[in-house]
């Protein structure tokens, strides 16, 4: 996980932790944080070289650099700061992420990106800052995941739009597909609703370092706006698929009735046919 070419530049005393966000944890796991209970997520410490844990939803690397007593983070050497920034900006998937956020609070310095974070602060503040970062990272990842899903589903939804108005015989085979998409839209809404109270959490008074950090990061990553936009987009999805579901359900009900009616008509026609053929056969001979 850690690029060996970058780590030697990091200042002495820096500690890198690999934290995994999981949906389920066991008694053996080294749980460092339990997110608010409705979310049912845990941050578990794991070895940097270990394979991903089961039920893992994301992995975050956190670099902690404890400052000596009364030392300010700004007094850190520029080369060390640059090395930390480079390390945070390094992503597993490609080029250096230049969009990492740098924040300073009460003598602490924090770099944040969705995959890597760095904290330079007094030792007694490291844990509370780390926990705040994990929490915000989870919300951000969750939002990003939903955004990706919604973005990918737009073309399909546009193709499904006509079915919200009219359903016919050929559309029947698409029912299972529509059902899946409807479920996906609902699931997206549920996930969004789940993180809603935390994304829209009011400012805490009196503020603490972790609450300030959390609020600042939510603002920097435009979480509240993104949450609202996603909510609106998912509402569109919900409306479309609700209508599709209604149309398909109506059609299937009508279809069942129509089939039964047609079977009766066919039987009556067969009976009429027997009579007509019998009459004609008798007249012919």
């Amino acid at each position: 996980m850690i690029d060996p070419s970058l780590t030697p530049e990091l200042p002495k005393g820096a500690l890198i932790e690999k934290l995994t966000l999981v949906t389920q944890c066991s008694a053996d796991d080294d749980v460092v944080l339990e997110l608010p209970p409705p979310l049912q997520r845990w941050a578990v410490r794991s070895s940097t070289s270990a394979p991903p844990l089961p039920k893992c939803i994301a992995e975050v690397l956190i670099l902690s650099l404890p400052l000596e007593d009364r030392q300010n983070a700004q007094s850190l050497e520029p080369t060390s700061m640059a090395a930390i920034q480079r390390w945070v900006g390094h992503t597993s998937g490609g080029p250096i992420d230049t969009s990492c956020h740098l924040m300073q609070f009460q003598g602490a310095q924090i770099w944040w990106s969705p995959e890597r974070c760095a904290i330079v602060a007094a030792p007694d503040r490291l844990i509370s800052i780390r926990n705040a970062l994990i929490e915000v990272t989870f919300y951000e990842l969750e939002l990003r995941h939903i955004e990706r899903q919604v973005g990918a589903a737009w073309p399909e939804m546009e193709a499904d739009l006509p079915l919200a108005f009219q359903f016919d015989e050929r559309s029947i085979q698409r029912r299972s597909e529509l059902k899946k998409r409807f479920q996906l839209a609902l699931l997206g809404r549920a996930r969004l609703a789940r993180i809603g109270p935390y994304v829209h959490a009011p400012h805490l008074y009196p503020p603490t370092l972790s609450s300030q950090l959390s609020e600042r990061l939510r603002e920097r990553t435009r979480m509240m706006h993104r949450h609202e936009f996603l909510s609106e987009q998912l509402e569109v999805f919900g409306n479309v698929y609700e209508l599709c579901g209604q149309r398909s359900s109506d059609y299937v009900h009508t279809r069942t009735g129509t089939i039964l009616e047609w079977i009766i008509i066919i039987l009556l026609l067969a009976q009429t046919l027997f009579t007509v053929v019998e009459i004609f056969a008798a007249s012919g001979t």
Binding site: R170, R174, T258, I266, A270, L273, F274, V277
Partner: protein, 369 residues
């Protein structure tokens, strides 16, 4: 988009029909493959109609326009069937209810059922097959047949009964073929509308086909152990005239299995690979493509080519026109002539190139579309 599976099957049907008709009409020999061509031809009329309707919808034609063209096409083929009977089989056989009049009626009916739910179409097909032995019993089927030929009186009742039950290709049970063909087409060739939609599976069609074949074989095997009423009057043996339930099941099963299997093997999958799988064998594929494009023309032309000289020769010899029918030549010569006809036809049709304005198909499009 052309489907190689349909081209191959239609070519198979037309080749079988040409061989059977030449050997039957010129040498009086009824081949064992005699019952394979016509059911396949009728089945494919249903499959093709489905594809044609989809093509028209894609072009943006309205439902009413599609219905109008369907009716015109149906009537055209129906009328052509009568003209064919008069000109080829001579006027006394105008009401013999041959395959063209049947396919014309089939097209008219398919236009009616195309918007119905699939189960209704299948119930119609099943009913048509199941009522046919009862209808034959009601009208005394054999009374309308003289030896091996349909020979009705020119009365309204006989003509109507011939059309419905006793002709060469009566509505009951033959209508089951285009109806099932239409349903099979809708199951096999359904377009994927969205990128995530799965391609339709061929397995349901293959399974139903295999079950029908198995049932037909079972009917033949257990025939002797069943009550006579059931085995002789209802299920019947493997016979085309009349088309027994055993025969219809077997022929339908064969058509479904062949169509499903060929679609699986030779047709392109638009989403995965839109290029035809037979592009590598372009020269060979051209043969079924050509025969399929002109199947109607070949069907009419092969009758004209071998029957008109027969009628003329009879008249020249001072006999009835039909005097030499079924006794004109030995079997080997009749089969050789059939092969020569097929080869010559292919040469002529290839000579026409891709211009499809020639032939009865082109005229039908010109008149009806």
């Amino acid at each position: 988009m052309r489907y190689a599976s349909i081209d191959i099957l239609r070519t198979f049907a037309i080749v079988v029909m040409v061989l059977v008709h030449f050997s039957e009409n010129l040498a009086g020999h009824t081949s064992s493959i005699a019952g394979l061509g016509a059911p396949l031809f009728a089945f494919l009329s249903g499959v093709s109609y489905y594809l044609w309707v989809r093509g028209q919808e894609r072009k943006g034609r309205s439902e009413i326009d599609i219905s109008k063209i369907s009716v015109r096409r149906g009537l055209f083929v129906f009328g052509m069937g009568f003209a064919f009977n008069v000109l080829v089989w001579l006027p006394e056989d105008v009401f013999n209810w041959d395959v063209l009049t049947f396919i014309g009626v089939g097209l008219l009916l398919l236009n009616g059922v195309r918007r119905l739910p699939v189960p209704v179409t299948l119930v119609m097909a099943a009913t048509a097959v199941l009522v046919s032995p009862v209808l034959r019993e009601l009208v005394d089927y054999q009374a309308y047949w003289n030896d091996t030929h349909f020979d009705p009186d020119w009365t309204f009742s006989d003509i109507l009964i011939g059309f419905l039950v006793t002709g060469y290709f009566p509505i009951f049970p033959w209508i089951a073929f285009p109806l099932v063909g239409f349903v099979a087409g809708s199951q096999l060739f359904e377009d994927s509308i969205t990128s995530t939609q799965k391609e339709p599976s061929t397995w349901p069609v293959l399974r139903v086909g295999a079950i029908l074949i198995a049932m037909a074989i079972l009917c033949i095997l257990v025939k002797d152990y069943l009550p006579a009423v059931l085995s002789q009057k209802f299920l019947g043996s493997w016979a085309m005239y009349p088309a027994t339930i055993t025969y219809v099941m077997g022929a339908l099963g064969m058509a479904l299995v062949l169509q499903g299997w060929l679609h699986r093997v030779v047709d392109p999958i638009p989403k995965l690979d839109p290029t035809p799988k037979l592009d590598r064998y372009e020269a060979w594929w051209r043969i079924p493509k050509t025969f399929s494009q002109y199947s109607l023309t070949i069907y009419i032309a092969h009758h004209l080519v071998h029957l008109w000289p027969l009628w003329i020769y009879g008249i020249v010899q001072g006999q009835e026109p039909t005097f030499y029918w079924m006794q004109a030549m030995p079997l080997w010569l009749a089969v050789s002539l059939a092969i020569v006809f097929l080869a010559a036809t292919y040469g002529v049709l290839r000579g026409l190139g891709d211009n499809r304005n020639f032939g009865f198909e082109g005229w039908m499009r010109w008149v009806c579309d």
